[in-house]
């Protein structure tokens, strides 16, 4: 079923919207949640919550791109669950690797306390990723948004794992310089 047809189901408040979402995007949402949480049960729970969130938000929203819209919901829910677990129980594996890599882009660790700074950071990141060369941006997104393992990314783009690692490493250096320039590392 096409995205606009699924969205129309949501708007008509027909529960088949959830079923169709699951058919079309269930696998990728589950994979995304599991990449983040490293736990099948938690991932399934997050995906189930994703459909509920979508049900609650469409309408009033009418997303232009349903897949990414659902992926963002899934990712938000998974990160919330991850945060609730605390650092000691993150699940290790890919998430820890991704967070460790992103840690290279920041200065002294500390939390962002105010919502305004968080929003400004998000907007800066949005701008940064869009400004990356397309291919580099795609690799960055697969790794740091979708938390995909390096071999999966290499397979997806027909590259060697080493090459993916090198490209990501350079992208992180750019991000760090960018965050410095934007004043996010001054704290």
């Amino acid at each position: 079923m096409r995205d606009d047809e699924i969205i129309e189901l949501y708007w008509r408040r027909q529960e088949s919207a959830i079923r169709q979402s699951e058919i079309k995007y269930g696998t990728c949402c589950f994979t995304l949640a599991r990449n983040i949480l490293q736990n099948t049960e938690d991932a399934e729970e997050v995906v189930g919550d994703t459909w509920m969130r979508a049900w609650g938000s469409i309408p009033p929203r009418r997303p232009e791109r349903l897949g990414p819209y659902l992926a963002k919901i899934t990712r938000n829910l998974a990160i919330n669950k991850l945060k609730a677990r605390g650092a000691a129980r993150r699940g290790g594996g890919e998430t820890d690797a991704v967070l460790h890599e992103l840690g290279e882009c920041i200065a002294a660790p500390g939390s962002i306390e105010d919502e305004q700074t968080a929003r400004e950071l998000a907007e800066s990141i949005r701008f940064f990723v869009r400004a990356l060369p397309e291919r580099e941006g795609n690799l960055f997104v697969r790794r740091y948004f979708f938390s995909e393992p390096i071999p999966v990314i290499a397979e997806r783009f027909g590259l060697k794992g080493h090459n993916v690692t090198v490209i990501l490493s350079r992208a992180r250096r750019k991000l760090r310089r960018y965050l410095e320039k934007e004043g996010f590392l001054d704290e």
């Binding site: 929203r61 990160i79 920041i106 990723v129 795609n138 948004f145 350079r170 590392l185």
Partner: protein
């Protein structure tokens, strides 16, 4: 900030970017992409050469000058073993100089189009003087080599690098070469190297050469070596039919440098022209007082928006004053510049609604907007006397993206004589925008 904060902030990535990442990028033609730094510089050079008076070339791409060796021989030719004077007269040589087999090209898996020189660092090009040209050319030149070049300077003064073109008139193409201090930081993250990179040794010079076959039938060649603290990057972009010649001529240039004793002194170069270069953040007050564009800067943002940040930038190609105000995900961008010839195609009268009325074009606009109107519909310019409140409302649209605000968005420009004000906004009232623009009259 910690890594979780950063990780979480990635949720703001645009949904089209997320969608795009599902699919690998289609490789672009080598004719339009960069090959590492050398390629980056080609763009700069192309732009530099496009500036009237910047090069002294009046006849042909080589921009040759009277001291540049021409076909017919140079005294130095005799010093090169195997240099057959006949080879330069045609691309159909029968006799190949021995050195042309000495360069090993590493096959590159997939080059990446990548960044230009560091953002915000303008580079100015100046055609080389005879003295400058002679100081960087090889001690020996083959007959086919018609040499020209530019010095590229950072906006703040120092030399970034020297760019040379070795043009072969009978071949109708060129080998490019950049020379820069080996310590000069550059983005060079273009090449995805094979796991094992082979180098070649030509007369003691260690050279790394690469070759990439594009699926579209093009071939990119490039080679790098260091001499006495300087990095040389050679490149050629050709179609596959010209591969043999490109490899031969690129190797010729390497060979000439490998047989060169003199070492260029890049400290000898200094910018001759006075190029306007500005790149500074301003306060609101300074922005409003800025003499060129300040009178057209917005003096106060919509209610609830941040104080704003202002930027004055000028180099060879850009000249503007910009302001940015934000409120969470909402933003207002206001850019003031001179109206340029290139902008003329986007000017519309209010009565020509097909040029700007977004309600006429359903999403996806790529399908609904006729190709000949895309540029103007995307970003039209209204002469101020043509600007109406209705026209501004016709530019406003809303989107529904998760994690984003869904207020009005707008993008268009307004022309005040020779001054162009361009706005781009999210969640700012069209009425308010209209009032600010008409108040500038």
């Amino acid at each position: 900030m910690n890594s979780i904060d950063l990780y979480e902030s990635l949720n703001a990535i645009d949904e089209d970017v997320l969608e795009r990442s599902e699919k690998p990028v289609k490789k672009r033609s080598p004719w339009v992409k960069w090959v590492g730094l050398a390629a980056c510089l080609c763009l700069v050079i192309a732009a530099a050469f496009a500036v009237p008076g910047l090069t002294d070339s009046g006849a042909g791409p080589a921009g040759s000058t009277e001291d540049i060796p021409q076909p017919g021989g140079t005294p130095a030719d005799a010093d090169i073993p195997g240099a057959d004077p006949g080879l330069s007269d045609s691309v159909q040589e029968d006799i190949q100089p021995a050195w042309r087999d000495e360069l090993t090209f590493n096959e590159v898996q997939a080059p990446l189009a990548d960044t230009a020189p560091a953002a915000g660092v303008a580079i100015f090009g100046e055609a080389l003087t005879q003295d400058e040209l002679q100081s960087v050319q090889p001690d020996i030149l083959l007959e086919w080599m018609e040499l020209s070049g530019s010095a590229l300077y950072y906006g703040y003064g120092p030399l970034a690098m020297v760019y040379l073109e070795f043009y072969n008139a009978s071949w109708g193409d060129k080998i490019t070469c950049t020379i820069r201090d080996a310590e000069t930081p550059v983005y060079s993250d273009i090449v995805i190297e094979p796991d094992t990179v082979e180098t070649s040794e030509i007369n003691g010079l260690i050279v790394t050469a690469y070759r990439y076959f594009d699926p579209d039938g093009g071939v990119m060649l490039w080679a790098e070596f260091e001499r006495e603290g300087l990095t040389y990057s050679l490149a050629a972009n050709v179609d596959a039919d010209n591969l043999e010649h490109a490899q031969a001529y690129l190797t010729d240039v390497v060979y000439c440098y490998a047989n060169t004793v003199s070492v260029p002194d890049l400290g000898f170069f200094s910018m001759r022209g006075t190029h306007e270069y500005l790149n500074e953040a301003l306060t609101l007050q300074k922005a409003l007082e800025e003499e060129t564009f300040g009178a057209y800067m917005l003096s106060s943002p919509p209610v609830g928006f941040s104080e704003g940040s202002f930027h004055r930038y000028q180099d060879q190609y850009s000249n503007y004053l910009s302001g940015l105000w934000t409120k969470g995900y909402d933003e207002l961008r206001w850019k003031v510049s001179y109206f340029e010839e290139d902008d003329a195609a986007r000017v519309t009268a209010a009565q020509d609604t097909e040029n700007y009325d977004l309600s006429l074009y359903p999403i996806p606009m790529a399908e609904s907007v006729p190709e000949e109107l895309r540029e103007i519909v995307d970003n039209p310019i209204f002469p101020i006397e043509e600007l109406t409140q209705e026209a501004v409302y016709k530019r406003a649209y809303t989107v529904n993206d998760a994690g984003d605000t869904d207020g009005y968005r707008m993008r268009f420009g307004v022309l005040y004589g020779d001054i162009l004000v361009e706005i781009s906004s999210k969640s700012v009232s069209p009425q308010w925008i209209y009032e600010q623009l008409t108040a500038l009259e």
